[in-house]
């Protein structure tokens, strides 16, 4: 499988490039949209919710603390949601290609992961740019970010690949996932603080893998501290396990996948 990826590296790289290009090639502002869209979203949340929630961020002496908090959480969330929603559909969307041309199918998840990573690294750069503007300096803790990205990708891709394979046979999965993703967003403390959650529900929050990932991003980017490693490792191990299972299932399903596409 790894050998196949290496042999098709040119195709993977050019697919990622094309993917980025084709999204923006015919718009006036081009690649700027990649950053403007999430920034606009952050601006909306900040505008609507800052009065309500800003007071509840302890220990930060920056007027823009809530914006920074939001952007940290959104960086984590947008990588997750992009990876998940795209991998659910990746086999269905590439159905005609898979039917007609023989190429290692494992390229598809790699392309999705690569292109989502590029998008979100750019988004991260934009976020850091905004931080600098508002006078929030990066600290050494930012060196944790690559590790956080890796854990995020492992978990998201593990889940996404699993759902992507099932979606080929049961197309309802993609429909359900758009709803679930929205619900999940509000169940994860991205726009609000975990402190506002009542004590009895805290336990349930601990079971949400995205809580740990988002929390780590916030810890690093807002507070400039090392993330809570135990939760992160737990999510990473869980993600690896899921990735293993879904790869296994992917191999089993691959011969039948083309039949029903």
């Amino acid at each position: 499988m790894l050998l196949a990826i290496w042999r098709y590296r040119h195709f993977i790289v050019s697919s990622i490039k094309n993917d980025l290009r084709s999204r923006f090639v015919r718009s006036k502002l081009g690649a700027a949209w990649m950053i403007l869209q999430p920034l606009a979203q952050v601006a909306i949340y900040a505008l609507v919710l800052s009065r309500v929630l800003a007071a509840k961020l302890p220990g930060i002496n920056n007027r823009y603390a809530y914006v920074i908090y939001l952007m940290a959480g959104m960086t984590a969330w947008s990588l997750f949601s992009e990876l998940l929603s795209r991998s659910v559909n990746m086999f269905v969307d590439n159905g005609s290609l898979m039917k007609k041309i023989m190429f290692p199918r494992v390229c598809l998840p790699v392309i999705v992961a690569g292109s989502a990573l590029v998008n979100n690294v750019l988004l991260l750069a934009a976020a850091i740019g905004v931080f600098l503007l508002v006078g929030h300096m990066p600290t050494a803790a930012y060196l944790w970010l690559p590790a956080l990205f890796v854990v995020n990708v492992i978990f998201s891709l593990g889940l996404g690949l699993l759902l992507g394979v099932i979606n080929v046979f049961v197309r309802d999965v993609a429909q359900v996932m758009t709803v679930v993703l929205q619900l999940w967003f509000w169940l994860t403390p991205v726009v609000y603080m975990p402190t506002i959650i009542p004590e009895p529900l805290k336990m349930a929050l601990e079971l949400n893998p995205m809580y740990h990932i988002v929390l780590s991003f916030q810890t690093v980017m807002l507070y400039g501290q090392a993330p809570h490693v135990r939760g992160l490792i737990a999510v990473g191990v869980f993600g690896l396990l899921m990735l293993g299972v879904s790869l296994l299932m992917f191999r089993r399903a691959a011969p039948e996948m083309v039949d029903v596409l």
Partner: protein, 408 residues
């Protein structure tokens, strides 16, 4: 290491419906599940292809041709049997597959060649050849969404054949594009063949199959009907088209060693056929340009509302040279009674080049043999043309020239 490029053994492909998808998921984890419906698109197909051999695959729609090709290219996985490929296969199945409309032709070449597993460096070496072969001028650097279908096909074909594969699969896709480019494509395909590339050609065009292929396979209903000589297979295929309604096909060995196919409902049949010279004597060897009469006697067994006789002269490879019928000439016979005998005398000058030819006859009620096929007879008559009195020439047609020269 065998000398066979492709070995196909008892190959079968079934599409399975499990009723509920849970059963399918269970089958992945090793649970034995009986599929609710199994549809076999291909069953028990065996053949092999040697290096450098050209094979035509013919059959009606739904006969399993595409399934077979997809199995060979590897996009589909076989349900039963085995398939061994010994070399790189390139397919010209769906030209333009994988093209991104916003990319230029050049960028798409890189992208699609990458999809075929080539590295950037390898493509750098042939990109100029591809551009030159496609001949679409400055469009090569324009986005492919501005291309016509034919232009897209040009780029796609040039890319697919930029590297000589061990086997080339050619689908009907090749019929896109103008005559000039088609010629160019076939020229390249022929060149590949001479260099040892095997060909797998799917086509309904008997001309392409017979002129390019060494052998042909006839598929019907997912099974292989016959593996044999292209001319023989094309005759059988034509007969099969007419045999939808459970009519009989008779295959017998003609005295020349070729296989004769006779099919039809037999309300009328050709009883006697001969080629006569000016004196009215039957001949087998004809001089170029000699006036002859094709004499056909038809026996009618049942009342027929309308009788049309068609005949076709074919060359050694089975390619049509000339053919017409009495429907086109406005001489169809109405209300022919049982027991009657009809005589046809078709006079024409033998303006054909030297070689061996055969005559096929068809008795039907209209211009095609697909409506009422009373009788279709291949190789009804075989004759040879030799050049005894004309100037030396080559080709299948005698087109008498008048050449004037002037030295100025």
């Amino acid at each position: 290491m065998t000398d066979k490029l492709l070995t196909v053994n008892a190959l079968g492909k079934a599409y399975r419906d499990y009723g509920t998808e849970w059963k399918r998921f269970a089958s992945w984890v090793g649970v034995q599940v009986q599929p609710k419906v199994e549809h076999w698109a291909l069953k028990d197909v065996s053949f092999n292809v040697a290096h450098g051999e050209a094979i035509g695959i013919v059959g009606q729609n739904g006969a399993g041709k595409s399934t077979l090709l997809k199995l060979i290219t590897g996009t589909l996985r076989a349900t039963s049997g085995s398939l061994a490929v010994n070399g790189r296969i390139a397919a010209i199945l769906e030209l333009g597959m994988g093209f991104n409309p916003d990319l230029s032709g050049r960028e798409n070449v890189y992208h699609v060649a990458g999809l075929m597993g080539f590295s950037r460096k390898a493509i750098d070496g042939v990109i100029d050849d591809i551009e030159e072969f496609a001949e679409i001028g400055s469009y090569f650097n324009e986005p492919t969404r501005t291309y016509s279908t034919g232009m897209q096909m040009r780029v796609a074909f040039s890319t697919a054949t930029a590297f000589r594969p061990d086997a080339l699969i050619v689908d009907e896709a090749l019929s896109v594009g103008d005559a000039y480019f088609q010629h160019k494509c076939f020229k390249r395909i022929r060149e590949f063949r001479e260099l040892g590339t095997s060909l797998l050609i799917v086509s309904h065009d008997s001309g392409a199959v017979q002129s390019l292929c060494d052998r042909a396979l006839l598929l019907d209903g997912g099974r292989m009907v016959k593996d044999g000589d292209p001319a023989e297979i094309m005759d059988l295929y034509n007969a099969l088209i007419a045999e939808r309604e459970n009519r009989t096909v008779m295959i017998s060995k003609h005295e020349s060693g070729r296989v004769q196919t006779v099919s039809g409902t037999r309300e009328a049949s050709v009883e006697q056929i001969a080629l006569l010279n000016e004196a009215g004597d039957p001949i087998e060897f004809v001089d170029v340009g000699q006036p002859v009469v094709l004499h056909i006697k038809v026996a009618v067994r049942e009342d027929i509302p309308r009788l049309v006789l068609g005949y076709m002269i074919k060359d050694r490879l089975g390619q049509p040279v000339f053919g017409t019928n009495t429907h086109h000439t406005g001489q169809a016979l109405e209300n022919v009674k049982a027991g009657q005998c009809v005589q046809f005398r078709i006079a024409f000058p033998m303006n054909l080049g030297p070689g061996s030819y055969s005559v096929s006859t068809a008795l039907a009620s209209s211009e095609t043999h697909l409506v009422n096929n009373y009788e279709w007879r291949d190789l009804a008559l075989v004759f040879s043309v030799s050049n005894m009195s004309r100037t030396r020439f080559v080709g299948t047609a005698w087109v008498p020239p008048v050449i004037e020269t002037a030295q100025l």
